[in-house]
């Protein structure tokens, strides 16, 4: 026992332990997300060349944090088994590569074009099975049911993203982003993979059809203007209170001063 406890303090021990833990988690994840494979994507296919190009891009742009073999480091998680969907979402929305370490990866203009994103996804998908990019059928809002989508959205998503999908606050500087203007594919992938602090909504929890319904509901909010006039960011009573204390009070003040002043 003494020998073991001494070895435990060896500087490499932590690294080895971490590597084992990460491999285990990745493996577990791969097994656990097996339910998603039922809907394996057939519309997107990756060639060996894609994966090769992707690996080059990965080494050049991602390895600092995620490790040269995507095994993860202290600065970034392992990507074995996260699947193509995670890459397509994170890279496609510009969250990855991260600008800087922070509480949460921020959206910014994408650094890679579609082809490069595709290659990166191919590389990461080749490392282990994981959630895939959705088939076009499941992101087509003309086939979705907004009423069911509203139900699923209100039960599972509105608590963080707000009823109108405009986002909300989480703990210690984290936040749930606005869903307005996010592409159908990315919304789908976010539900599948659970980026950042978001929980995973795998296909066993919210079926692909239900995901499409949610997307349909969100898009119906996005394309339609509020019938009552400016929506004030759909933020609810706080925005309304702010308006009455600024614009409302301002107009009233102007009138009271005019009304009680003497005419020239």
């Amino acid at each position: 026992m003494k020998a073991l406890s001494q070895k435990r303090r060896h500087p490499l021990a932590a690294v080895i332990l971490l590597a084992i833990a990460l491999l285990l988690t990745g493996g577990l994840y791969a097994v656990a997300t097996a339910t998603n494979e039922a809907k394996a994507d057939t519309s997107v296919s990756y060639t060996a060349q894609d994966a090769e190009e992707g690996q080059k891009l990965f080494i050049a742009n991602c390895a600092t944090c995620h490790g040269t073999n995507a095994e993860g480091t202290a600065d970034g998680p392992a990507l074995i088994g996260v699947g193509a969907a995670a890459v397509d979402f994170q890279v496609g929305t510009g969250r990855m590569p991260m600008q800087m370490q922070g509480t949460q990866a921020q959206v910014k203009p994408g650094q890679f074009n579609e082809e490069q994103t595709h290659q990166l996804a191919a590389y990461v998908a080749s490392l282990g099975a994981g959630p895939t990019i959705p088939e076009a059928e499941f992101t087509d809002v003309s086939q979705g049911d907004a009423a069911n989508g509203a139900k699923v959205f209100l039960a599972n998503c509105a608590m963080c993203h707000n009823a109108a999908g405009v986002g909300g606050a989480l703990t210690r500087g984290k936040f749930a982003p606005s869903l307005m203007g996010v592409s159908e594919k990315h919304i789908y992938e976010a539900m599948e993979t659970g980026p950042q602090g978001m929980p995973v909504f795998n296909d066993a929890n919210i079926t692909p059809e239900e995901k499409r319904d949610v997307i349909t509901y969100l898009k119906s909010q996005e394309v339609n203007s509020s019938p009552g006039g400016f929506a004030l960011g759909s933020l609810g009573p706080v925005a309304e209170g702010l308006l009455i204390w600024t614009l409302g009070l301002g107009i009233v003040l102007v009138f009271t001063i005019w009304l009680t002043s003497r005419s020239a």
Partner: protein, 363 residues
């Protein structure tokens, strides 16, 4: 304070010396002279002002017409918030805008017109009215005497039995109506102890109502869960009240992350844990689950609970940890409850401590 001078001393001191009656207080110079307005001295300006008022009234009439145009002329209807066709929304928005602006113009026209009329064409001489004491001393004495006379003539002072029974009846009579409030609701707080969860009740998805296999709950996922037997209830026999107490959040964490206290070792299934979703602060559903930090956040008052540490409060105003639902897997692989919660769900209340003790001994 540097060099100060009014430069025209002679004139100013003349003002001061003219007020010989007081060295302590400046006298009231009285109302300033009334300066005439342009409309008072110039008939042309008065005419212009009149025309402006007329124009404002005409705007008001046009505003009313705009309202009717929007009300009758714009045809609304169809499907609102249609994902493929935003036309219905746009029409309703336009109608709302034009009707509202129509009313606004018709009101502003009248209002601004009248006020402009008052400001420019009605006299603007300030007038004075004196204040009188709210009541005179003599009046007060008279009133007191009248009250005395009334009391005397009624004989209420001389007949104490009459007075006392009257007071008694006047106090009691309204209490009959207060009593009627008694049946506003039940008065047995012990209903707060129990929920629909019981041994073997399956956990089903909210809102679809389908049961959940343990294998479906992957690490990082969160399920919003209801008891399967909820569906047997209807609006009349307590569906919504039971739902309000029974809502549960189901998460799978890495079993190594979980801190499990004695007696709760078997309450999770390989890291799948179920906690009441009703905030222990004032009852909002706590549904914001951050799968990385394992924090649960209440969006109403920001109470934060740590899912790895049996949902103890880590921030915010909540007073105690979220109750945990003991779960197991049934023979078909679906998740079921082992029993009801072991403490009342939701916010604290006066009898809660007592209920916790009772539930402990019942278990």
């Amino acid at each position: 304070m540097g060099n100060h001078s009014d430069g025209v001393q002679a004139k100013s001191s003349a003002v001061v010396t003219s007020q010989e009656e007081s060295k302590e207080k400046f006298p009231d110079p009285g109302l300033p002279h009334h300066a005439p307005r342009l409309t008072d001295v110039d008939a042309k300006h008065a005419k212009t002002a009149e025309r402006q008022v007329v124009l404002l009234f005409v705007i008001s009439i046009l505003g009313a017409l705009l309202f009717w145009f929007a009300y009758f002329g714009i045809k609304i209807g169809g499907n609102y918030y249609d994902v493929l066709n935003p036309e219905a929304n746009n029409t309703l928005r336009l109608q709302n805008l034009l009707m509202g602006l129509g009313i606004a113009f018709s009101m502003f026209g009248i209002g601004i017109g009248i006020v402009h009329w008052a400001r420019t064409l009605m006299p603007d001489h300030e007038m004075e009215e004196s204040r009188h004491a709210i009541s005179a001393e003599a009046d007060r004495a008279d009133a007191q005497e009248i009250v005395e006379t009334i009391l005397d003539e009624s004989g209420i002072k001389r007949r104490p039995l009459l007075r006392n029974t009257l007071i008694g009846s006047v106090i009691l009579a309204p209490l009959t109506f207060v009593t009627l409030l008694r049946d506003l609701g039940p008065n047995d707080p012990s209903v707060l102890k129990y929920t629909l969860w019981d041994e073997g009740v399956r956990l089903v998805r909210d809102p679809s109502g389908t049961p959940i296999k343990a294998a479906d709950v992957t690490i990082g996922s969160a399920y919003h869960v209801l008891p399967e037997n909820l569906n047997s209830l209807t609006h009349e026999n307590g569906y919504i009240e039971e739902k309000a107490k029974a809502v549960v959040l189901l998460m799978r964490l890495d079993p190594n992350d979980l801190k499990v206290s004695a007696g709760r070792e078997n309450w999770n299934v390989d890291g799948i844990v179920a906690y009441s979703k009703v905030c222990t602060h004032v009852g909002c559903p706590i549904a914001l689950y951050e799968q990385r930090t394992h924090h649960l956040l209440c969006p109403c008052h920001q109470s934060t609970f740590d899912a790895t540490d049996e949902c103890k409060v880590v921030f915010g105003p909540a007073g105690h940890a979220l109750p945990q639902l003991p779960i197991a897997v049934d023979s078909e692989g679906y998740l079921v409850a082992q029993s009801d919660f072991h403490e009342p769900v939701g916010p604290g209340y006066w009898e809660r401590g007592k209920h916790v003790e009772e539930m402990k001994s019942e278990a």
